[in-house]
């Protein structure tokens, strides 16, 4: 602590010395913010650090193993004698559990940030009555709130962006191997852009709920519940709306067949649109890195197959045993398989749309929070 020197005479009466310090620096409010919230910050840092360590470890192993698989031409190979030991080195690579687990784990990041950092920041001040202290010191309450919330928001957003980037790197071998696409709902919301957006949004939602409810535990519960709801709606619905992929499984036997569901004989085949909603990969032919939206067949006359002709084509497909055979059968008979897709170049555009929407929501919530801070009574 620096010693204070009495400054110039204070005011009109001029009889007493003043104890002015230079205009408040950001550093002094930063210290206040850190000191008050360091437990939550450290807790979250440990958790996110743990996630990062796991992902780095998995990524190093996975990438090394993947390189070895390529070198020995073992990808998609059935030669168990030659490739078995190599495949066994890193069993995580053998299925899609890891990328799905990573995406799920990363969804916890905005949830916990909103719950344990965002919600208590202001709610606890109200609950413990300390707003009556904080708001009567020589700092305007707007400045107090804006600086504090900004100083907390920046590092958590940066940490989330880093985790998103790390996740993308660590699941990269799964793309070519299993067709795990970055377009998939879980992965799409856990990139450097979207995870940062969600985390920032979650934090500001927590602060708004906190200042509105003024009770810590209810604020945490409401924040967690609404975040879980919003993340769920985005996972199940909003992403499909954004990317233009509307699942139609179940309405159409042809689609059901394409997706591997049993087809009943009774249902009429109206269209042959195949809902793919999947990245291009070994299982789904299409431009690399794109999101396949729909597939359909055209006949020799160049028209889309519907009704009975589609039925006949599907019956024919029962006799082929592999994708390659099916493909050459189609070509021989002047049929073609078409796909509509989002090209890979649009990936970051859609990412920016989601991130931008979350940023706009964050700013709206921030404005609401500041308004409430200015108008709430202590």
């Amino acid at each position: 602590m620096t010693a204070l020197t009495p400054g110039a005479a204070r005011s009109a009466d001029g009889t007493r010395g003043g104890w002015f310090r230079p205009p408040q620096s950001l550093a002094s409010l930063a210290w206040v913010t850190w000191r008050q919230h360091r437990a939550a910050i450290i807790g979250l840092a440990v958790l996110y650090g743990g996630l990062a360590v796991i992902m780095v470890w998995a990524a190093l192993q996975g990438h090394a193993n993947y390189t070895a698989l390529i070198r020995d031409r073992c990808i998609g190979s059935t030669q168990l004698v030659r490739c078995g030991p190599l495949l066994g080195d890193f069993p995580w690579l053998m299925n899609t559990t890891y990328p799905i687990a990573v995406a799920m784990a990363l969804h916890i990041v905005p949830l916990l940030t909103g719950m344990f950092l965002g919600a208590p920041v202001l709610a606890r001040e109200f609950e413990q009555g300390t707003v009556r202290f904080a708001w009567t010191q020589g700092t305007s309450r707007t400045r107090w709130a804006v600086v504090q919330l900004t100083l907390l928001a920046i590092p958590v957003t940066a940490a989330a962006a880093a985790l998103g980037a790390l996740a993308a790197w660590s699941v990269r071998p799964f793309g070519p191997m299993w067709g795990v696409s970055l377009w998939r709902s879980g992965q799409f919301d856990a990139t450097a852009v979207t995870l940062a957006g969600w985390t920032l949004f979650a934090f500001s939602l927590g602060t708004t709920v906190g200042v509105a409810l003024r009770r810590t535990v209810p604020a945490m519960a409401v924040t967690a519940a609404s975040l879980a709801g919003l993340l769920g709606v985005t996972y199940w619905k909003l992403n499909d709306l954004l990317l233009g992929s509307r699942p139609r499984i179940g309405r159409d036997p042809a689609i059901a067949l394409q997706a591997g569901f049993p087809v009943s004989d009774s249902g009429p085949v109206r269209i042959l649109d195949a809902m793919l909603n999947e990245g291009a990969g070994p299982m789904n032919p299409g431009p690399a890195g794109s999101l396949l939206l729909r597939g359909w067949y055209t006949g020799p006359d160049g028209h889309r197959l519907i009704g009975a002709s589609a039925d006949r084509l599907l019956s024919a497909s029962q006799h082929t045993t592999s994708a390659g055979q099916w493909s050459s059968w189609l070509t021989r008979h002047h049929y073609a398989f078409w796909v509509s897709y989002q090209p890979p170049g649009r990936y970051w555009i859609f990412q920016s749309i989601e991130g931008g929407a979350l940023l706009v929501l964050t700013l709206l919530l921030g404005a609401a929070t500041i308004w409430l801070v200015r108008h709430r009574r202590a």
Partner: protein, 310 residues
């Protein structure tokens, strides 16, 4: 320059008015006691004065016209809220450092020496201190801000008699040293006389009494006389509160300002006047919420006569 000026100030919470048509001017350099029963609007008035709350009607200004809650006002007004809210999970040293970082005006030496004198360990968490020590930490922070106006909401309530005595002693020391103005609310009427030199009584959201303690004491007396002749006393005095027994009546009475020139210390025949203590005066007004004593040409309400059956 008045340290606090309220004009037509009112605050309504949902349907009930917590404070109503409050017009008040507290001169500088005073230690003002704000007294009133629970729910009279003391805390509301203080919260309005420090900007924690916005008025429903009217205005409140501090230190010669600063808008309550403005940054200039925040810089020069220190407030200790009821129960001295502090960050209980912080050690005292960090709590003080936090306050220092929230203020431009700050006297670190004063804070450090005051805590040392009070033997409050800097490393102990605020929540682990006794109520008296917490109040002292809050007062230390308020005083280290070198305020021109210090506002304390029920600072004595959580303190035991010894802590109360020490708290008041250290407060008065600072007042004497700095000549700052103090406004404090209190339930503890017995302590008022020792420290307050200006009195504001609130009742039911309205200002009932406001004035210099010396003037109030000089303008009031206790009259003792025959119970049947209360009307005689009414010629010179306004009766604030009347306690009537079988034969004798005790009146707490206020000399009518208009009667001053002729009065010259005479009391009606059969009556005896004795000086009033501040405690008696406050209690009398608290018992008669309808009576008022306000500066200026304000009318003095006449309280209903209460019967005391012996």
């Amino acid at each position: 320059m008045n340290v606090l000026e309220a004009s037509g100030l009112g605050k309504r919470y949902r349907r009930a008015w917590a404070l109503r048509e409050c017009t008040l001017a507290i001169p500088p350099g005073r230690v003002t006691a704000l007294v009133g029963p629970n729910g009279a609007g003391k805390t509301t008035l203080m919260h309005l004065a420090v900007g924690l709350n916005n008025p429903t009607s009217g205005t409140v200004r501090v230190l010669g016209g600063l808008r309550a809650g403005s940054l200039e006002a925040l810089n020069r007004v220190a407030f200790v809220a009821q129960d001295a809210p502090l960050y209980k999970n912080l050690p005292v040293g960090d709590m003080v450092h936090l306050a220092r970082n929230l203020n431009r005006r700050w006297d670190q030496q004063r804070a450090a020496s005051r805590l040392a004198t009070l033997k409050i360990p800097l490393g102990r968490k605020v929540g682990k201190l006794s109520g008296g020590q917490q109040a002292q930490v809050a007062l230390t922070i308020a005083i280290a801000r070198r305020p021109d106006l210090l506002i304390l909401d029920e600072p004595l309530a959580p303190l035991d008699p010894l802590a109360r005595h020490e708290f008041l002693a250290s407060l008065m020391e600072t007042v004497a040293e700095d000549g700052i103005s103090v406004l404090f609310s209190s339930h503890v009427i017995s302590e008022l006389e020792r420290i307050a030199d200006y009195l504001v009584v609130l009742a039911d959201g309205r200002v009932q009494v406001a004035g210099d303690v010396e003037e109030l004491l000089a303008g009031h007396c206790v009259l003792t006389g025959p119970a049947g002749q209360i009307e005689d006393a009414g010629a010179w005095f306004d009766i604030v509160h009347c306690r009537r027994g079988q034969s004798q009546a005790h009146l707490l009475a206020r000399l009518r300002p208009a009667a001053y020139p002729e009065f010259a210390g005479n009391v009606p025949n059969g009556w005896q006047a004795s000086p009033v203590t501040l405690e008696e005066l406050v209690l009398a007004y608290l018992r008669e919420p309808g009576a008022t004593a306000l500066p200026g040409p304000a009318p003095l309400g006449r309280g209903p006569v209460t019967e005391v059956t012996a």
